[in-house]
Symmetry: D2
Subunit: 272 residues, 4 copies
């Protein structure tokens, strides 16, 4: 299966990039399924029900969230009605929604999508993501009921992300990080067959501070003083992520390649 995974959609620029280019990109890459991280789709803070619908209608088969999952309060109710949205397994004891879901491609092949939050350098504490992932991956072993499985590991620290990759190695088709809003250049297939990249990057304007218009973040870093709210930068988004190619029989990764499309970053499109 060919799975396109795109990182955190950032505000209007990110939404526009998805709306105008995701279908084209899927075609160009011959992607069977597309999974998109939507945790910053609405003004950089969470994702409204309306914006989630827009992303799903634009060609995403599944949306993941992150630490900003419920910044937009209407997601609290909407997520229970929309099985294609996944919030972190370890978001909170009493979070609505689900931490994993299964979506199918046009030929009926199944992809498990799950997400966990790291514990290192995050804005609030979360319970252990490793045992949470362990339970989900045990229930869906490679070569079983699903043809492939994708873990979105939403975390800051590269140490924790690489550890999560090795922890899932041989048990998931791919582990791809999100949250830092910068794509990493370390795509590889781990020793037991799991595709890995530390961060997918964001779908947003890279002339910015992690997608936010740069004036106010710079003011705060330089002067220590706050003046205005943060608002997303409005330049053309680079869609950033990975294309994972899996073996339907074993559930292992055959390939994992960086994808960069549009905006300021140098374009990279794996061969279709």
């Amino acid at each position: 299966m060919r799975i396109l995974f795109l990182g955190d959609v950032m505000g209007r620029a990110g939404r526009r990039g998805i709306a105008e280019r995701l279908a084209l990109l899927r075609g160009r890459l011959k992607a069977d399924l597309a999974v998109v991280n939507a945790e910053n789709a609405s003004g950089g803070r969470g994702c409204t029900a309306g914006h989630a619908q827009l992303l799903l209608e634009s060609g995403a088969d599944c949306l993941t969230l992150g630490d900003h999952a419920f910044d937009q309060k209407d997601m609290l109710a909407f997520i229970d009605r929309e099985p294609r949205i996944v919030r972190p397994l370890n978001f909170a004891k009493e979070a609505p929604g689900r931490g994993s879901t299964i979506v199918s491609d046009a030929r009926g092949r199944k992809l498990l999508v799950t997400q966990a939050l790291g514990q290192v350098f995050m804005s609030r504490p979360y319970d252990d993501p490793f045992s949470a992932l362990d339970a989900v991956l045990r229930a869906h072993p490679p070569g079983g009921m699903v043809q492939a499985s994708l873990v979105d590991f939403h975390a800051e620290a590269t140490s924790e992300k690489m550890a999560a990759g090795h922890f899932c190695d041989g048990r998931a088709s791919a582990v791809v990080g999100t949250h830092t809003h910068v794509p990493t250049a370390d795509a590889q297939i781990l020793p037991r067959g799991t595709g890995y990249q530390s961060d997918a990057g964001m779908c947003g304007d890279y002339d910015s501070v992690i997608g936010m218009e740069k004036t106010e973040p710079l003011r705060r870093f330089i002067t220590g003083m706050t003046r205005d709210r943060f608002s997303p930068a409005e330049g053309e988004a680079t869609l950033a992520g990975v294309l994972i190619v899996t073996d339907d029989r074993t559930g292992k990764a055959i390939g994992i390649d960086m994808v960069r499309d549009g905006g300021r970053l140098f374009p990279t499109h794996p061969d279709a």
Copy 2:
């Protein structure tokens, strides 16, 4: 000028990669100068005087350090005798050594090298890096006494790194991050002419947890219990960094491209 900058050299694998391949890589890329981050060269913790000399003899014109600058105590005295080593400007009130230096290429062209530590998500507090960089860059404006200038911004958070890039935009030839040990795929020339990449990545074995042999880090993440010390992974190192091409007259960047050489990561060598 063509400047090769390589990220954190990690233990024996990293040192061997530099010793065996840096000279070849310089040749292949027609690099005029090579700067190497050495903060993890000795067992992953700091850099001994002996290892610093090895790296300099292997083709590095200048070494930068980081938060681990003085983990090896003999560096405290050695750094004052070796002007080609730079520690962070804001390491401590009373640190030995220097936070910036000037090195010359074979044709006598001068490169300013400086380094600052970020304040976000670091293991201990450091003073404001922005005002520290400001003072150094003011003293060496582009188009002045030095033909180029390179800032190693040693930090964890992508937000602070992107802010540092914009803060130096038009004032330094390039700002390249280090410390996360994972290369980023966001190389770009910022609007006012500064080359930028969030992280150079490490020179180390990428079948690891940020360069450390993965067994013990995985144990700690999974079980919460410590058993052994960390030790660097010993597989072949990928040398990771960037090639920056600058205009000698303006000091601005003409190009910035990712470099990956050897080891597990897909090789990338910009055209010479």
Copy 3:
């Protein structure tokens, strides 16, 4: 001199406690001067100009602030017009106002009041407080132009607070911590004559979570989910702080005793 120092005034309950009882408390303790930390006087977040005036009119001779100094935006302008308000020395590069001030008692004796922010476990990074305090205390040595000096060390970690106490020992009349909103029971005179207590505590309702009505904080800790904003608890405030007695000639502390007045905590009033 007899100096009363009270910790963080928390919302309406704290303001009411000051308005109704500070004058009485000053009389009972025969305090020559009263200094009050006002960083949470307005809804728990900063201090408006109006609330600052109320506290000053109620018997405070000087107000200190903290990390919440400018949460209420009118303080940005007001602080430059009101010399009796002190913000942290190391709040930011470009903060308005002053980090130290001198106030006089009815007999013309002078008290230096200054404040610094800790760096450990704070919500954002601040520059080194030790060198900032060093400069102020050097300019006002004990036994010099001021009869006494008071350092409000606004910090979370007990290690940093005790270190600040020893750093100032013999150089300030007293170092008293604020910020945790819980009074500590470690009042002592350090070996070289500086009165010390790790935290003054808050002037607020102690049937709460650090002064906030407890329902929402408990929800967040227990469920991980946010529902409402925080709002200060409204029960009767305990006024919490210390009474410092100094020798006018040497500037050293002769005594330092805990003060607790009203509300839920057991009352403690040092002998007058």
Copy 4:
């Protein structure tokens, strides 16, 4: 029942204080049981089997630990042989030992002792302490099989500690914090009958930086440079903690009072 709880025993000074004075203090306070936090008894880092035995022989009926529980490796095996030692419920997935225990006084009355680690500002991540405490307290309701129950909440942030107190209010006889090494002056009985104090303080030398000899901590704070290891201060220890008086029938607290004995802090002994 009259329960004496003493905070973190710090190195040799703390051990000596316990060995020489705990029995006397128990007698003076007519304590039926004594519980002592031992996480720093051995050089400030953990507690050896030998030191644990010393504390138990000196009059402690039960020892609690903390984040330093297994810094001394022989505790890993010893804790499984000594039922009077409690490590935090949420220390790690695979920690040896137990997170709660029951000890009996001379008249056969039973006290449940349990401990949990906070998540805020700690050196590494721990799972949710609230649900862990919930399970233990549900199994031992007040007025049931045990006459009293004591929660040692080992945490840094006053917000999390006060939240833990309210969370257990009416369900435990007392919640007392440890870890900051400074006693707090906020002893109170919460609305539903639970005795509470944010921190017991340490049993150690208070002319120090949280019990460590002050030279090296001061050097690190002032200069940013490390030279030596930390070692505990050796002056006479203040034994610091609380005396909780409970109703054997209801399991609720009737009284909670601060205890300070010896050393630099002002002595406080509740009436027996």
